[in-house]
Amino acid sequence: MRIDTNWRGDPAERIVFTFNGQPIEGYRGDTVAAALLAKGIRLVGRSFKYHRPRGIFTAGSEEPNALVTIGSGADQMPNVRATLQEIHDGLEVRSQNHIGPLQRDLLAVNDLLHPFLGAGFYYKTFMWPRSFWERVYEPVIRRAAGLGALSHDHGGARSEKAFAHCDVLVIGAGITGIMAAYVAARAGADVLLVDENMSLHNRHRHFDDPIRDAQGITHFSPEDFAFFYLNALQAMPNVRIMTRTTVTGIYDGGSYGALERTGLHLSPDAHPDLPRETFWRIRARQTVLATGALERPIAFPNNDRPGIMMLSAFMRYVDGFGVLCGRTPSFFVTNDDAHRVIAGLIARPEIAQAIRRCTVIDPRPEARAQGDYRLIAGAEVIDTRGRHGLREITVRQGGSQQRIETDLLALSGGWNPTLHLTCHLGARPVWNAEAAMFVPAQDAVPGLHPAGACNGTLSTGGCLRDGHTTALRAIAVLGLADPGVPVPQAGEEAGNGVALWQVQAKGRAWLDLANDVTTKDVAQSAQEGFASVEHMKRYTTQGMAPDQGKSSNIGALAILADATGRSISATGTTTYRPPFVPLTMGALGAGGEGHGFAPERKMTSHAATVARGAPMIEAGLWYRPSYFPAPGETTWQQACDREVRMVRQSVGVVDVSSLGKIDIQGPDAGAFLDFVYTNTFSTLPVGRVRYGLMLREDGHVMDDGTTARLGPDHYVMTTTTAAAGQVMAHLELVAQGLRPDLDVRVISVTEQWAQMSVAGPLARSLLNGILDTPLDTAGFPFMACGAVRVHGIEARLFRVSFSGEQAFEVAVPARFGDALYRDLVARAEALGGGAYGLEALNVLRLEKGFLTHAEMHGRVTAYDLGLQGMMSPKKDYIGKPAAARPGLLEPGRERLVGLKPVDQGGILTAGARLFTKGDPHTRPHDQGYVTSVGSSATLGHMIGLGFLRHGPERMGEAITLVDHLRGIQTPCEVCAPVFFDQDGGRARG
């Protein structure tokens, strides 16, 4: 029931949302859980395995039960914790894991079968027949045991990722965190204070424990203290406060991941551009961890009914939302803190008025009531009743039992410090036997200082001191002076209770509500030999649900310790790993969908190319035209054939700007190139171009390309498109780290120049139409380069050919690339030629036996490629010593050959294997493989390049190409890898 609608100080705004289709009214700022509880709705879902009715157990991100699905279509989000999700108008909330209505779940039959469904049931039962697991058992089990589902609709770009930086990160805005943030901020540090909750102003009332300033004059309630200090923090320019933000992980070097629920509290329709979630990457120089503690449940039979919740949650619903979850509440508690909280609560007039009866059960015989409630000391709850919600509890005191009617049972078994983040870099928590709790290890995370309850300090006074001290420690590391903020004083009382892990009584007692793991399962695990905590976890699945066992881990390991006769500290915890709360893939991958997946590199000819209808294909990050369809052509092959003939007969134009271009300058530029290439470049005359081959240090080919000498100390190297980045990094390593003796500077100029290849017998005539000074053969021979003017623009001209035709590459500053490409293509078309794409380019180079990375695939040597003649014996170069190893110079290696079909129509496929004629087509007889194939329009049949054992010695031999995958066998003839114009006369013409 709602006892107070005005608890936030201003008139609350009414909100209507739906739960399983039923409209529910709440107030802005309510969580789904609070709004449902306010309406008396206790049953919110079904349990994972037994389909037991379940209710709201906590009020935070640790919630094991109340997982719901929100939204629909692309905005559907499953497994949302009702305890965090705020309501907004139009919000659709649906319960999960039931067939039929929530009240009458057909799979509730599982609960009746529970004797058969204990831990290990699946492993033991669904063993046979083996093939049934994937096809039958698993799908059925997955359907029955489960969580919410995705809608499979595309989400669109609805989340974002962002970076934040700070001097001091404070995680958690309880009194500890607020104190720490205030001290750090007053010292002048850039402070980032993050908290999981939607608002920081309503979570400090559990103890009415007065806080006094250092002089002991002014008294604050904890709530007023928080209000006062938060206001001060908000007014400081060096403080940034992030609410609705959970730190999910700690990574090396002061990196933190955090998930912000940016827009989940608002209607997606009303805020279409607002990110639903933001995944933050935070860099903090120092961190104060003030994540508090999670209250510890108690295991007793039938402790999982709706209406049973943690005392801290019960109080949070009262204080944070004005919701009283029961009018005849009972409390099962083990510590004096709980008594103080309950006494304070029922002393409030509005509560006293609303509550009809209040019972407190405490296992300690010496427990004393601290307020006007009925205390049953030395007693335990041993059973509960109520099918869809708690109705009655059974209490055992000494030898007698009594049943008590109650609509709510709140549990307090002490506190477990929320230290999970301190374990993310591998540290293990340490058991403090005196306080009966795990606390963070010393220096668990460099630069991170745990403070307050997460460090085992439970009293209000201790938390304030801790926050203050750790902040001083952090700012000292930063070199900032102590701002002299006095430490407020407050009560030092805390804890004083016993640890009660489980009540010994008949019946199933739940530990892990999320995965339906009971105390019996843990004991059975130990009995069957899974005695290590890590084995127990995997055998029972305890702690493996989305809540990661936040409310059950410690209890489970305590019971395991008991079952195995070890101490808790010897049993240890499982490994806490990121993320601390579940993360959506949408948040982790935000920005990576569609155009955000990777940069799309577009050449200056892109618009003109697309306008001509060319399908674009990716070459690394670049987009290049595949072919240019002409009217009447129905297949890419027709276009490709036409383009090949066009280049061989008239002239073609292709944009080659994506090839890497690297400026290499300095007095030692020639010596540098001699060291990175197998062949010599220091002897290359100015105004000439040479083909170069580059090896890795292991003797295998890295890349090839042409390098032009533009001046005595100035070369420009071209690389293949795909290897441009790798070659650039390689050259930088050589220049900086391997040959610091050479005075050379390298810089990429790939993007500066739009470079177009003009190829074909009419190439020169085409170029002469655009050059300010026309060329003649003698003045610009094959492999010449130089500065020219194109339409009055300073340009570079290189006479290189990747087609075997007379060809030029003309480079202009990229701003003119679009215009130059359009002009060249128009002029080519006027001469009977035109644009060509990568398909034709590939066939043209194959006909000439030119190499690409299909051949230079990382496992071949210069020798394998037949390029051993390019390996200069006169100088040292990268890869030379390794390439000379005997094994790399064996004639029997797979070496480059050309392949053509014996029958004109024979099909060659890349990736096919090669076999000696007559040999079985099996692996032991394998002779090599095919790397590239194409249909040669010039020759009228397919041609291919491949690697064949003893290749060059087998010219003319008939072998068999076998593509096992496609079921193709083609008799082929081994030939030289140059199919057309063997003497290269066309390129020189």
Partner: protein, 88 residues
């Protein structure tokens, strides 16, 4: 992970690529015995503890760095320009 680039200051590891052990800088003479080349190319320790690696600040200043880090704690204890290390 944060790498203290001597040129740019501390930067997130996403700006870097790692090439492996810094032994790459100690290239043997061309005529060194095959064992020396084998060791240089192939033989690497797999230390649990401090190690020296070559990292390229390719999304930053493009410097190659020798980064000292601990493979157990992941602590990065220093970074120097490969050029300075090599020139010594």
């Amino acid at each position: 992970m944060l790498i203290p680039c001597p040129v740019c200051g501390p930067r997130d590891s996403r700006e870097f690529t790692c090439k492996g052990h810094a032994v790459t800088l100690a290239r043997p003479q061309a005529d060194a015995p095959p064992e020396a080349w084998d060791a240089y190319l192939h033989l690497r320790d797999n230390p649990a503890g401090p190690t020296r690696e070559l990292w390229h600040h390719n999304a930053g200043c493009t410097a190659w760095l020798v980064v000292e880090r601990n493979t157990v704690t992941h602590a990065v204890t220093g970074a120097r320009l490969a050029g300075e290390v090599a020139a010594r």
